[in-house]
Symmetry: D2
Subunit: 394 residues, 4 copies
């Protein structure tokens, strides 16, 4: 009830951005999330879609989510072409297909002059990611990659505190993303989500490391502002017959001597989406957990730990900016995802200070996955990580 | 990632219900919440509003949230009249004014044949609440009161477990709603939310007991299916100059010998919206906390406590029905609020099994507040609580 | 590893106090706890015992715990007489019998010039407690009652903070002690602990309220320094055939307008010894839980909650005094109990500042139980609580 | 109050074992812990000591802890010789000196025919550890190393569950021990504990990895029964001027494909003694944290997480055996340490099933530290770990 309400509420004052979607038809998961996220702050209007690779199913799915029949397209090339011809055509596209299709769809979208919101990992291949980064830079359009956890208010609080030097020079970074849902061969039962995520052809060379490790990697970079110089990864597969890693233990080395560790696992019974970040600096520590996202533990050197809460005392401008409701009334995953969309809307409208994961972050994530796979293949040895472009961490 | 996604996603398949709003203009809090909640599952379309008692501000606020100028009305009587004349006129109204205006607006809305979604407490006076209940029963329209915490998936899980006899006959109920934001005389600083909530003319005879105690009361009844026979309340005011209670200690007696306790406080430093429910039966116990809404503690007699999580193992049909995303990705306050709207949409569409707080629940809440005030005025003695109608707990 | 180690360690430097025990033979629980507690800081030497009412079993039990056969007595009168005749006779006695025997044993012990450490509740009858208080005052000896939770370091920290005005004038006190072990008729199975605790002849008129409610009552008074003026209690029995209350809901009124609530239950599935205290003052709040005793939550008005830990930053002199090991290495129940013994040792040695629960605290506890039973018998109405003597809260 | 009390209570029935101590004089920390631990269950009697390397201080310290002047020796050779000549001479010795003295004292103690309880790490040099292992095997005496965390009841519960196959074949082990007390150059302030622990001459080649990493290593092995085949360690030093590592990131590879990770840090603000173990098997997961030692999280595949508590439902024979008091009344660090002493007492008395860390565990720990130092020196590359003897994990 305190006046700690952020800027998301004002977004509806301007006209909504016309959004289309590729992928996300019936049976998909992340498409529905993108739609709720886009709707939450009323900054987008979903106007069209090509929701499936199967033409009939694409049209059906579009109608099912309330699209006009005429704008429920049977393929993305058809959609991009038809919408370009309309005065009220789509302005932005959300790409929510399996990973291997991100690159061709994004290329076509940029060719059509659209803003792009692409799910992660951005591509399966580093070369594709590099190309998208070049194209995006040339396009003058917004290109966002939905590393959605960076939308949480207390993640932004942590980032702001690090940037302000509150915990001093960073020494140790610990990040982990633990799940247990693939502890058995779920992919063998026909479960769609499990199927494509464990299939190298659709998922890329990384299993757990690509699906969730890349989220952890982005989160650590987003909060600390640091990108590792080198990584060492021990990827392993614990379920018989699985073709990709389901557990990834990674060491990180940063310039200046900081050390890090990243763990991603999909065989950790008892964890659902247990993404945790701990950062220790010379003068303090921070701890955040995705399953309790409104809370940020902050320990200044020599003082008792403090619990900084979204909407509560100690939350600063960066957190308030993305806060919708008072503290103690939890904001969750959809709100954080919505914040990415809200920030993208701001960027599209030309606001200079929008904070969202960019195509450069997407590229960094793809490079990270490739480096860990290479390291692991070489017997878990150190591999240098190609530095991101200057703009990498927005 | 498990296939535990509920029914909220299908709502967009049918045409959206046209919604108007009374109250909720600039500076208000709960109006924005209702709008996000209504938007989340895409079952409503906000088409008009009379967002303030001040005509100019009402129009301005309407435009600010994206309404057409023509449907941004200067008063609710004007809106109800004009919309009734349109073929695409509003079908339902959300009433989000201060408490004392709920009754006249709701009366007018029902007279206009609208479905009503009214914030809580439903009215300040018992007689008004009784009248609304009669009118609603006669109207054939849906009348919902936004006891929004009943929208949480794990609250519904708890309710289903109690109903199924999982914890046996209920013995003890402990419910509390603790806040600290009024520990000082915030109302003296001009803070709008504090002002009207501590003003008997706008808030009614209950302070903390009316603002948040009534939420706790509804939650306990929603989960247990029990309504107390008698209450004893010790209401107290701890901030100098305040005209309403800011702390309420209440004992409850149920038919059959169960005992309960309700605590509502707005002077409890360290609590934001700390609504907690604990229920103990002959064969088990349940514990739920609003600030960690995806978790339900369940202890079967003689076994270790278990943590049942939204989207996780042990969550049943009633929870899954209102689950949007997989476990471990938190759903929060807006999602629970959205569930009330989703269920109201189902009810408006004539689905028989929609579960939402009704006008009878609103009436029970108003009676509860009145009884506690009377008990406290009489020196904290026992007061019988008038039984609710049969339909009370939906 | 920080130099936060308290004074308990120095106790062994002086000669050990010679201790005898009445009660606590085979099958008993609390006797063994007293012995470990007395041993922990090496300030006592257990020299004799009359461990059972059954002479043969008394001797056997004494030998079983390592007492010399000659000092393993068959009855307490025999022990007091024999020990008085020895140059190295007992100096203090620990009384750990069922409740109804506390009074006669304590009377005899004081007559024999012994220091007394008596388990709680001190007596079943108020008149007995008053007599003991008079006798103790006249004796010049130490008389302690083992309200052992007052030995926890963070309880002492809380007490010191309240006394120093850190949270301002107290407004609301919430204390509860929840257990689930008597949710079924365990007494019907022959379980000894359950048997005597549910038997009015041995336990007194209070069931849960006497066994654990009295602990909660002492804790609240110990930390806040406040004693209620009036109580209202709704005692209830939820297990068929049980003769004493197994759930107690109590309201408290303090001089000056503060309000309190006490809950004691033995039918709360999922709780073992879940004693919790929350205190809210004008300028801050405190929260402590016995099952995580090394942690004290402290929220200063308008600041984030802080976690003050035993042995950590923010722990003051009163906590350090009773701290044995560095923070993060948990001290538990036996250590807190040991602190009561350590403080009694200091008092016996004549140190002026020993802090432990006295005979006056014992009397206050007995009066509290009697008042709640009377209130409940009268239909849960308000009953004034006789003010304790000046020395009540040590 | 349930009959879940373990075997520790019966130890006093037999005559106490006569114990001497080397090290642990004034200003020391761990000596006092050993004394309280030895006293707790009354199975030992402290009869003599050589508490300091400084003869005068040694005698003084002995008297200060209540030893007879005649048995408060000025050096350990003197003590071993004098005690051997007494009919009531010491039977066992507790070695609590800085690390570099463990080996010579232990050698002398074994030569004197004593049972040995040695603090960890057992030695600084692998060769010394190997020699002690040989000598101990030949001696026929008990040789324990105080990896005290293995004394916690719920650690034993976890070990028993793993051994019984409850979580299936182990896939992933995550263990960490985080502290923050050395985040600054505390050793430069003259703090004794910090001084010797950061001094290679007294501490050995490992800093954090030797002081606390070795505890984490033992804990993981104790619970899982697994010893890694290879380790890869990235040791780093974050405080300027410090000569040993203060952060250690370690990867572990086990036979059969299981993977592990060990983190030890002394620069992690906000952590005191935050030792945590997580173990994931094919059919379940376990999680335990030293700062909440009475709780063990257990998630069976496809079921909600359960909280198994010491003294509560689900705790098995191995936990009950070392349980002193009912659940909900916390047992802490001293109790766990006391359990090591209790088990050693059982072993000395010839009971066949005593479970305590042996000289082989001590050797494994020393080898582990040496291997990590070597790995790190070689650029954080893989190093094979010499297999322990068959008897390694008791």
């Amino acid at each position: 009830m305190r006046p700690l309400i952020g800027g998301c509420w004002g977004l509806a004052e301007m006209s909504r951005i016309r959004l289309g979607m590729v992928g996300g038809g019936q049976g998909a998961f992340i498409g529905g999330v993108h739609r709720m996220a886009a709707r939450l702050d009323d900054a987008f209007e979903m106007v069209c879609g090509a929701l499936s690779g199967d033409p009939a199913r694409a049209r059906e799915s579009g109608v099912a989510i309330g699209l006009a029949l005429a704008r429920s397209y049977s393929s993305y090339p058809e959609m991009f072409a038809a919408e370009a011809a309309r005065p009220d055509g789509m302005e932005a596209v959300a790409i929510v297909t399996p990973n291997h299709l991100h690159a061709p769809v994004a290329r076509a979208a940029m060719a059509a002059g659209l803003h792009v919101i692409c799910d992660k990992p951005m591509t399966s291949e580093v070369s594709d990611a590099e190309e998208l980064a070049r194209l995006a830079a040339a396009s003058g359009r917004v290109f966002a990659v939905t590393y959605n956890y960076s939308g949480y208010a207390m993640v932004r609080q942590a980032r702001a505190m690090v940037a302000a030097g509150v915990i001093g020079a960073i020494r140790v970074v610990r990040v982990e993303y633990a799940q247990g849902w693939l502890a058995d061969a779920l992919e063998a039962t026909g479960q769609k989500q499990a199927e494509w995520r464990t299939d190298p052809a659709r998922s890329g060379a990384g299993g757990a490391i690509g699906d969730i490790g890349t989220h952890a990697f982005h989160l650590a970079g987003f909060v600390t502002g640091l990108v590792p110089e080198a990584v060492l990864a021990d990827l392993s597969t614990h379920v018989a017959g699985r073709r990709l890693d389901d557990d990834a233990q990674v060491l990180l080395r940063y310039a200046g001597g900081a050390r890090g560790s990243l763990w991603a696992s999909q065989v950790a019974h008892g964890h659902a989406n247990d993404l945790r970040l701990r950062v220790y600096g010379a003068s303090g520590g921070l701890e955040w957990r995705q399953e309790e996202p409104d809370r940020l533990w902050f320990t200044p050197a020599g003082e008792p730990p403090r619990l900084v809460m979204r909407g509560g005392a100690g939350a600063g401008a960066e957190a308030i900016r993305v806060t919708r409701i008072p503290g103690g009334h939890p904001e969750g995953y959809l709100e954080a995802f919505g914040t990415i969309y809200a920030e993208v809307a701001r960027a599209i409208r030309g606001e200079p200070d929008a904070v969202y994961p960019t195509v450069e972050d997407g590229l960094a994530g793809v490079r990270f996955v490739a480096a860990t796979v290479r390291s692991s293949t070489q017997g878990a040895t150190w591999v240098r990580l190609q530095p991101a472009s200057a703009a990498s961490i927005a």
